[in-house]
Symmetry: C2
Subunit: 346 residues, 2 copies
Amino acid sequence: SRNIRLAVIPGDGIGAEVVTEGLKVLEAVGTKIESTHYDLGAARYHRTGETLPDSVMEELRGYDAILLGAVGDPSVPPGVLERDLLLRLRFAFDHYVNLRPVKLFPGVSTPLAGAGPDDIDMIVVREGTEGLYAGTGGAMRRGTPHEIATQESLNTAYGVERVVRYAFDKAQGRPRKKLTLVHKTNVLTFAGDLWQRTVDRVAAEYPEVTTDYCHIDAASMFFVSQPERFDVVVTDNLFGDIITDLGAAIAGGIGLAASGNVNPERSAPSMFEPVHGSAPDIAGQGKADPTATILSVAMLLDHLGLAAEAAKVEQAVAADLAERAAGGAGRSTSQIGDDITARVSG
Amino acid sequence: SRNIRLAVIPGDGIGAEVVTEGLKVLEAVGTKIESTHYDLGAARYHRTGETLPDSVMEELRGYDAILLGAVGDPSVPPGVLERDLLLRLRFAFDHYVNLRPVKLFPGVSTPLAGAGPDDIDMIVVREGTEGLYAGTGGAMRRGTPHEIATQESLNTAYGVERVVRYAFDKAQGRPRKKLTLVHKTNVLTFAGDLWQRTVDRVAAEYPEVTTDYCHIDAASMFFVSQPERFDVVVTDNLFGDIITDLGAAIAGGIGLAASGNVNPERSAPSMFEPVHGSAPDIAGQGKADPTATILSVAMLLDHLGLAAEAAKVEQAVAADLAERAAGGAGRSTSQIGDDITARVSG
Ligand SMILES: CC(C)[C@H](C(=O)O)[C@@H](O)C(=O)O
Ligand SMILES: CC(C)[C@H](C(=O)O)[C@@H](O)C(=O)O
């Protein structure tokens, strides 16, 4: 089978531990992997002052995909690694689809009383390159009683339409064929109008897809009270950030939430990463759950056209999770990785 | 006892029904009320094209407080009534504190498995006059493939400091004395920096208050997985909007969530309203739960210095809710109002 050229960015905190398990599983699917590790993150920042040298970014561009653990460390000023490394990659490689499944696997417990796998099974298509993440804004008279600080949300027809189209395609391919736009059109009138008009226009090309709209505040409530309302959700960068953490909370916790920063046209490598952060408090102790990374590896395989391999990994995870429910608690990071690997190989 | 001069805006949908019950309870506390109804909302908009005439706004300025039901109707373009009526009042009357308790009453069921009243008991202090609600932004080349749409978040030292001080005062007066700033400082760096610096600076004046920080995405997760983390939350206008609907969801639903749009200096009347909307689908059927409005009336009394009366209303609601748990379901809007009124009078 074909070789996958993979760039691996373990990053900070628990990043290295979970990535190790992700790679174990990836190797077990029987696809040839050529992987190169990049030491980006807090350590490199302290050693050299660099977060992501241009030369490294150009090198990364040559890979089929990127697997990222987590970035961020209390020793680095807040936001530096997030922005100059993570967000920079998302923007530079045009990861305009930030794909985040919210799916409760059988046997996994949710904090929502009475909800089961049939109720919590959606995909959030979060825009990844626009909105408030553009980073524009500024401050004036900083530190004085007259300071003003602004942030700007930038939204383009080009940027909104492509992610909306992607979301319609996803919805079309799912049994329920339902797409919900989440925004705040009654307050963010300019951006909301662009999003709503775009959804309405593209909807005409997808007569089988039912479309719905929900304000972000109501959506946050419904994620908890009626998660079964949602099938595919399309939303902007910031709302998507918020709602996918909420999604992780209802679908068994941040230890299971996978994500893909996807460039659907493949003009640059897509990047797969667990939704969780670097969790410095438990780093190096074998306590981190590598499942989110392993599910991100499944998304990576799927993106590269290896659907059967992706399904194998997802099934192995599902089986492992079902067994945890039956009492298999207390395993270390590497034990979980080994167990899932064994199922993939077996 | 002293007369309360109250302006009442029933508004749209279920607004009139719930406000009727709120007023019943208010009259039962034994305070003299002089109330004047204002027919603002969809009906007036259709009749006259007006949402909030300047003359009416100036009249409203003369009251001790405003009780609002709900605004918004599908027959009016989305956002018009919300912005030109509700948000306009919040801005014009400088309601910079949007106070939203998130409190699970004993006997009320929460969708969170295993959580009880001890776990869910916080107050969200949402900023009410700045941020993305300023309404600034615009669109260019609208309707073309080259459209761009922007929204701006405006944050001032003046605006942030006053709401942060209010939140510290609230925290100081509660047993746990804990204040959590919720923001997204790693992405919204200019605004986040202003908020974080302000909290740090004011914290020095409140040595007994413990301060904490949480990104909005993590906070959304923790509202579901560890609501007991929070005591007082201070946050910006949009994050507060989202997190208080989520708060309503975990604390028994939108039928119980009260709010106050508060001008602490009393330079203009404060406005009290349920968090829920106008729910046109169930309007006029006696199905709406007036409890959120009645709890908003308790906040109104408290704001006007009638702490004992406020406590009486809250206790009556608590008793009513405990009884519902014991099987008192199926009552109409006015039956619930009557039952709570009876407890207040009795
Ligand atoms: C680390 C942070 C910048 C990032 C984001 O806000 O996108 C994270 O929360 C995520 O969701 O991937
Ligand atoms: C109706 C809408 C403008 C309003 C808001 O966003 O503030 C509502 O959601 C609320 O929370 O009071």
